[in-house]
């Protein structure tokens, strides 16, 4: 048996198949993508979060209108660090603010008025995205019909997303819904002004803390034209011509492989998976793209330039971080994206976990880790705490909700969702990542965790825990 039941889970043994210790002799994957055990203190979010927060939210010049009671709109207002060079999508929060009366009589009229009024106040918007929350699905508003009607009146696309929070088991279905909606309603509705033989889309890249601003120029320097980024720093106008790319590359392979596959099936445009984190993986991605476009020499040139510039910095941080052990807990893909980059810094990942990983995510994790590695599907707060205490990694990469729990245990932490001081992608971003790990691990603050500092203490003495 290589599944594990942690002590905190003894009352909920159904968690056991979700927690696996890697044994290459009899490899198994954690059970995944099923309903959460009610009350288990899950870290998961909802389908609305995956659709509005992750995939739809970064599109910068649309009115992001949340149809529902106020909370869901508020909580997604500017929170995820999906940066852009304009501010409409992060600075403004639009909501139909449904009340009890609307729940009884329906919110359709309010939605129509809200779309029109939003556009009147923000005529620079290129489209309106309408996201349905739980209550809208339950009361049965005809959002499709209303959005069509509104589109007729205001003359810009009004796109409804049926992403009620209670659908599915996690954020993951929300990604899928956003992909399918944008593919069905947007992709292919406009032709690009011009095409070149080197047109490519970067899919599943949300410009977290500026990642896309690092990634995109790497390909452009190779001579590739980036037609669209789906959806980091994207204009609405970037999405309709996606069907004219020659190649798609997919960075977030959980949230966005859907649209790459749909484009492949309908328009015969191939896609390749990439990991644009770390020196080796980024170089490999550039080489793969170079091979496809027969731009191999250009790819090598960019790689050489980047390595000359940034490898010495990585070597510096490796000296400071060699031998450290970490946990990585992410939505899904970054849990495996970062295992090899950590090794480039001399760091071994001893535990990974994902909030909403599917089988393919866990296959990717298991193909990268050493025997004895612990892998947890949909971990809850108690499991995270138990493993942090038990294995005491040198640092933990997770999200804001786990940050302060980790600190209280005296363990250094990196926010892998929105980053500390990113970007973290590409060669240059990896230097930032390494620097932030160095700051986390080597901060003097950890010396004080173990109690009183007696007079004459050697401040350079290594903390026994770190």
């Amino acid at each position: 048996m290589s599944t594990i039941l942690p002590v905190c889970d003894i009352p909920i043994p159904q968690r056991e198949p979700h927690i696996v210790c890697h044994d290459p002799g009899s490899p198994i994957l954690p059970m995944c993508n099923i309903q959460t055990v009610p009350g288990d203190m899950t870290e998961r979010g909802c389908t609305f979060a995956g659709c509005r927060g992750v995939v739809g939210g970064p599109v910068k010049d649309v009115i992001q209108l949340v149809h529902g009671p106020i909370g869901c709109a508020y909580y997604t207002w500017g929170t995820r660090r999906n940066l852009s060079d304009t501010k409409l999508h992060r600075k403004y929060c639009f909501s139909t603010d449904l009340t009890e009366e609307d729940v009884i009589y329906g919110g359709a009229k309010k939605l129509l008025k809200s779309i029109i009024e939003s556009y009147e106040r923000f005529p620079e918007a290129k489209a309106v995205f309408v996201y349905s929350t739980c209550v809208v699905g339950l009361i049965g508003d005809d959002t499709e019909g209303i959005c069509r009607q509104a589109q007729g009146k205001i003359g810009i696309p009004v796109v409804p997303f049926h992403c009620e929070g209670f659908r599915g088991v996690s954020q993951s279905l929300g990604h899928h819904i956003a992909n399918r909606t944008l593919f069905e309603k947007v992709v292919g509705t406009e032709e690009p002004d011009a095409t070149t033989p080197y047109d490519m889309c970067i899919i599943g890249e949300f410009n977290i803390d500026g990642d896309a601003w690092i990634i995109r120029p790497l390909f452009e320097r190779m001579g590739v034209r980036v037609l669209s980024v789906f959806t980091g720093n994207a204009s609405y106008a970037d999405l309709p011509p996606m069907h004219r790319a020659k190649l798609n590359i997919v960075q977030c392979q959980r949230s966005s492989t859907y649209i790459a596959k749909m484009i492949q099936d309908k328009y015969s445009i191939p896609y390749i998976n990439v990991s644009l984190f770390g020196m080796a993986q980024t170089a490999e991605a550039l080489r793969d793209v170079g091979r496809f476009f027969h731009l191999e020499d250009n790819a090598e040139k960019v790689i050489t330039e980047e390595l000359a510039k940034y490898q010495p910095r990585i070597d510096y941080y490796r000296k400071r971080l060699e031998g450290k052990k970490c946990f990585i807990y992410q939505g899904a893909p970054r849990a495996w994206h970062w295992i090899e980059p950590m090794r480039e810094l001399g760091i071994e990942t001893i535990l990974t976990a994902t909030t909403f990983g599917h089988k393919d995510d866990y296959e990717k994790i298991m193909s990268r880790v050493n025997p004895g590695h612990i892998c947890i599907d949909n971990p809850n707060a108690l499991e995270i705490e138990e493993y942090l205490v038990k294995l005491r990694p040198d640092f933990f990469i997770a999200g804001l909700k786990e940050k302060y729990l980790t600190y209280k245990l005296g363990i250094p932490f990196i926010n892998g969702h929105s980053y500390e001081e990113g970007p973290y992608a590409g060669f240059e971003g990896f230097v930032n990542f390494a620097r932030d790990i160095d700051i986390a691990v080597n901060s003097p603050v950890w010396r004080f965790v173990n109690g009183w500092m007696p007079a004459g203490v050697d401040v350079n003495a290594k903390n026994s825990d770190n």
Binding site: Q35, W77, F166, L382
Partner: protein
């Protein structure tokens, strides 16, 4: 407001407030009966404001619950939280989802608990489509006293219902009561649970230390009076008054001279205690600090937004300092808000616009038309302040783009001094001629 769509709402939904109320109870685990986002989003909001983790469970409602109801999920959630954490209490809050499908949370809780359970389960109905985060706080607090308060011997204490204020504010109010020799029960108390120390060796208790004990909430029926700091959090006070004859006083939030005086007067009268020299001295220091800065602040136009009780208090304080508040805005409606602001207008000759139940988009329009040299509000005021090139003094919830705001009080005499210093320094630090600051 002639508009249906809400743009930039400085308000959240009921579960957010209910979770904060429950987090002030010792050993209490909040359980949200709804979709998973309904716990994750408030947790995120708590984490970024307090820089603390907030452990909140959720019943993880999904499609089957939409059809068959969510009773099974909630019962299982209660069972699992009990089995794994053995908490002293579980605080349930409902959501738009569970309310729309018609789950009767009281019945579910009744069935899921036994009379001799050591874990108290508190059912609060907090539909997200009614009211705001403040309504949720109020409903959860009322559910806590309804479920737990028991008549016994008079305890000679005062109940303080905090509302959504910061740990720094709670500590300041405790300090004032200490100076007055008054014993208290806080309903509830996040000052330790959401501002926790790092323990030696990183030994973290499973649930945070601190918070109001269940036994103290039970004893709240026997207090000499209840003061609700925020008027929006008064339902539990009214319940205790009606059911147990505990006199209730709702507000005003003790910001500024008059409101702090009212607070001191209210608690000393209820408890039949004299006003002490120490409190007189603190009051004196506040007056002294206003005297010191009144030349800088006189006539300064200030725009204020936030939760109604706190905004009313800050508005009055600004007027006391000689400033000219131009707009007072709250997203949560409250019957006393407009009368409170109008009273300031008439007492101080100010000409404030009152925005109630509206949003920051409209607030911004008024700031533009009325002009302001200072904005006071939470982090959501940043873009307006930047656009108008005026400073923002951050108060309220949430403040996530500055550190430490939750630690410091703006309530009480000392808190008011701190707020005044923040306001004055914001003015002096922004386009004020430094040549005039050498003497």
């Amino acid at each position: 407001m002639q508009r249906t769509v809400i743009i930039n709402p400085p308000k959240m939904c009921q579960p957010m407030g209910a979770i904060l109320a429950y987090m002030g109870v010792h050993g209490c685990v909040p359980v949200v009966h709804g979709s998973q986002g309904c716990s994750t989003y408030p947790r995120y909001n708590i984490a970024r404001h307090f820089r603390e983790s907030a452990e909140v469970a959720v019943s993880s409602l999904a499609e089957d619950a939409a059809v068959y109801g969510g009773a099974k999920n909630l019962a299982e959630a209660i069972k699992n939280v009990k089995a794994r954490l053995d908490p002293e209490a579980i605080g349930i809050c409902t959501t738009c989802m569970s309310e729309t499908i018609g789950d009767d949370v009281r019945q579910i809780v009744k069935k899921a608990t036994l009379p001799d359970d050591t874990t108290k389960v508190i059912p609060a109905s907090t539909p997200s489509y009614v009211g705001t985060h403040l309504t949720g706080y109020d409903n959860a607090m009322k559910a806590l006293v309804e479920t737990l308060a028991v008549k016994g011997e008079p305890n000679n204490k005062i109940n303080i219902i905090t509302g959504i204020i910061n740990p720094g504010d709670i500590r300041e109010i405790k300090h004032m009561l200490r100076l007055l020799g008054i014993e208290s029960i806080f309903l509830s108390d996040i000052s330790d649970t959401l501002d926790t120390p790092m323990m030696r060796g990183g030994h973290k208790p499973m649930l945070p230390q601190g918070g109001t004990r269940i036994s103290d909430i039970a004893d709240s029926a026997n207090s000499s009076g209840t003061v609700a700091i925020c008027k929006t959090a008064g339902s539990a006070a009214v319940y205790l008054q009606n059911k147990f004859n505990v006199p209730a006083i709702l507000g005003p939030a003790p910001v500024g001279v008059a409101n702090c005086d009212r607070f001191v007067e209210n608690v000393t009268k209820l408890m039949d205690k004299p006003i002490t020299r120490e409190i007189e001295n603190e009051r004196g220091r506040l007056i002294d600090s206003i005297v010191d800065v009144h030349h800088y602040m006189f006539g300064r136009r200030v725009a204020i937004f936030g939760d109604p009780g706190i905004v009313s208090g800050i508005v009055r304080f600004c007027a006391e300092v000689g400033m000219a508040p131009t707009v007072a805005m709250t997203a949560t409606k409250h019957r006393d808000f407009a009368p409170d602001i109008k009273a300031v207008n008439s007492e101080y000759g100010t000409d404030m616009q009152i925005l109630e139940g509206t949003d920051l988009y409209e607030f911004h329009e008024v700031v533009k038309s009325q002009g302001a040299e200072l904005i006071i509000g939470n982090s959501k005021g940043k873009d307006i302040a930047d656009d108008e090139n005026i400073p923002l003094v951050r108060v309220g919830f949430p403040v996530y783009d500055r550190v430490g705001v939750y630690r410091y009080p703006i309530l009480g005499y000392r808190g008011s001094i701190y707020l005044l210093d923040l306001m004055t320094n914001a003015i002096l630090g922004h386009k004020y001629d430094p040549n005039k600051l050498h003497q």
